[in-house]
Symmetry: C4
Subunit: 279 residues, 4 copies
């Protein structure tokens, strides 16, 4: 009898798992869609709440809605932990942390009222759309992009390090040339200005005022303009390489349950776990 | 007798069709050219009309010219519907909608006077130049670009989605750090600032004022600078791929009547419909 | 006797030709170098003259120097015409027109005093450095770049046309949304703003003030950010293609007299015209 | 006996050499790490010192710390000279000059007090991280990037020269069109503005005020937007080429002592100098 109950409980857990984590059943798709809509609604609420005019008029509506959504997210978070085979691996995964971050600020707001704004971190949950897309054939080609980004990461990081070191040196130089009287108040501000310039953002809150400063700026800009070519070259080359070396990924997709690659587009069932494939 | 009239009418319809839609006969070319000139003239008019100084002096000239052009465009629109084999497919095509949009605002201006400005939508008709260019051998290579853009679209859209989600999170962070006293009035404004920064536009209407805000901005800028590499890498790679997989498109062109690809440059007649080819 | 004089004159013409147009003899190199130095000096002069403080102090020095240089350039221009085999083809070549433009403004300044500033067009003569570089083995690889730019030109132009049409439509939309009270005075100004935004320049002299305007701007920016990938993709792909299809251009150079490609790096004489090659 | 002392001294020199220059022994790694930490600390100090508020409070702490670090760096510099086999080649190498520059400003500050700020040049020492990374297998792929940057350098420089010449011409044109009354005070300022625009930085400290100036600016922006494609295309293509032509560099690394490439990943000793390899 006990076993029976337990197996029923296990079955329920498995069914909830398929709905919450999977997206290849009707209820799984519906759940994912509903979740995205609720997240979007919640992000819109917190965004509008920051506008004094709206907050003044709809304060109570905002407060109640946010608590309702937070309680829903808390229940969902608990369900995700309960029905996952390895709860800890979920809790410490990227999405696990994001899910926790999206409910924490509301509870923390009892102690630190301003922390409530951090509820906007739940917009990171919108990235969950990617894991849904991964399971659709149309986006199967994203794997090439992922491979390319992974291969480029180290090289682009080394490159970013190089830019920061150069910005420190050139920022200080500009501080010496322009000085506080032209808005370059101190070295950190000058380094900030140098990054603004090298990345071609150019706010103009700080701009060189002396001829020498303008000449140095021109060199920095042309340098930044030439340097932008490097990360682009790296990513492009790695992406082309990932495509050439993994042609089998093209137009294929992975099993929504076991994430095995399905190379045969006409498959009706996953060859690994027997999952029925919906296309 | 009736048949004779009908066949004459059909013949006329076909001749008008060749002039209006085709661009490989003398009158067809002339019509296309005249149309482009009239559109350009019309766009220039509405543009100048928005300058109070000009509007004051030439108000009547502007009004009359716009009505003359609108009536001409209306007649052209009706002719396009009448002489097309499948009128509905034209009406709901991209150019069909653009053609309608380019005459509607003038008629709507009886009811909503400000809608007249929307006449500028007729500048979208200038895109029709592309369909003319398509028929010339010199631009035959555009097909590669079209294939590449089509293949890149989904990936670049996923990428844009990613940027927007990141902008929401980082925008809110900056709102908390900088606050309304430095111009970050509310979260939507901060998200707008974040997009301005990540895309390296950098107006400077909003700029971080606190050291912490400047440090976070610097990170956002360097991130945006690195991220710009991704869509570029995708398009470049897809374009190279489209070229490699469709070498036969290189330097070839399509039949102006049936749009079949003409692979043999020395052809004098389309192998599909027998149309005489002008080169 | 007459023939003797004429042949002597012809010989002189040929020697001057080698010095002025060539850059593979000692005197030819010296002449080219001296010319570049004089052009740089002249551009620096006109640049400094525009600064009131300098002009006040050194007015006479500036005036005399510019006339000396202009007379030198005029003599050089006449020599170039006289000793060229086909004077007309020189006069109407790019460099011929630039050479004329670099002396005209000074003579025109008798009639229109402000035209003197146009002397700065002589900085275009600095581009002559490229034709000198072309003859050196080290820059032989520039041919690939030239081929790529030639192949990309049409496609990038079509692309620029597309951006301008889009800017007209979106600029007008922003004019309707923001209106003159937020600085969008008329449609041309709004189109200018749209180009500033799409190219990610972002001066900030005009910036959207309404929430709707900021939302539309954000879309324009993200679009511009994605669009920048297209010309880059085209040039990259064409450049890679030019390299693959013309591997023989790699590390080779052309004869300085007849511009024939020298494929064999160890050649001492041009195989076409017998010119002694200096490496 | 003398020989014995000398050989002991030689042995000590060699051991110090391995610790200071190498990074494959425990003490070598520790030394490199400690050096990076000290450099970072020192750069942070000089940066904070430039902020009046901090300088006021911690003036003595800053002064003492900087002298302690400078003395440490001086000792390290002397040790590097002494224990290097060819001291002169170190002194005139890039890192040798940087190491000297990082101690000189402090000593010079006795004569020129403001020169002390130049201590920030010691942040260039942070680039030494690259030589450490070079020895790790994970970054072995950087060699491709180095090859690509070396191959691209000349072409990108020619390109930069082209941009500067164009900026001089267009900057002067804008000076004539806009004039001092719209902030284009003189030609150097206008050239500066043109570089700011072409590189898509766009501070907005100068912005065109006349319709003609805005039209010319729009053309400059679109040109700059198209031109950015060229260096990117060059670097991308060269990088792809470097990868294709040197596939053996992929995932390999070099001997930390003799810098010979280690092609066999399973090697335990360098095949050239017998150095034990740490992985």
């Amino acid at each position: 009898m006990r076993n029976h109950i337990k197996s029923k409980y296990e079955l329920l857990k498995q069914q909830i798992y398929i709905i919450i984590y999977g997206s290849n059943t009707f209820w799984g798709k519906l759940f994912d869609l509903a979740l995205l809509v609720i997240i979007l609604f919640s992000v819109t609420l917190i965004t509008l709440e920051s506008i004094p005019r709206f907050d003044h008029t709809y304060h109570h509506f905002f407060l109640i809605s946010e608590w309702v959504i937070t309680i829903f997210f808390t229940l969902e978070y608990l369900l995700r932990i309960i029905c996952h085979k390895k709860p800890l691996s979920y809790i410490f995964s990227f999405y696990g942390i994001v899910d926790l971050l999206s409910i924490m600020p509301m509870f923390m707001s009892f102690v630190f009222p301003t922390s409530k704004m951090l509820v906007v971190f739940r917009s990171l949950r919108l990235l969950r759309l990617f894991s849904i897309l991964d399971m659709m054939p149309i986006i199967g080609q994203q794997y090439h992009l992922k491979l390319a980004l992974k291969a480029s990461r180290n090289k682009v990081l080394v490159f970013v390090y190089f830019i920061i070191v150069i910005s420190i040196v050139l920022g200080t130089l500009m501080y010496l040339v322009e000085g506080p009287e032209h808005g370059f108040l101190d070295i950190p501000t000058s380094i900030y200005w140098c990054i603004v310039t090298m990345t071609t953002v150019g706010y103009g809150d700080l701009a060189p005022g002396t001829p020498l400063g303008q000449a140095i700026s021109s060199l920095i800009m042309i340098m930044g303009y030439g340097i932008i070519a490097v990360p682009t070259g790296i990513v492009t080359s790695e992406y082309a390489n990932a495509r050439k070396q993994n042609p089998e990924l093209e137009d294929h997709f992975s099993c929504p349950r076991c994430t095995k690659f399905i190379y045969d587009e006409d498959s009706n069932y996953c060859s690994n776990c027997g999952e029925k494939l919906i296309k």
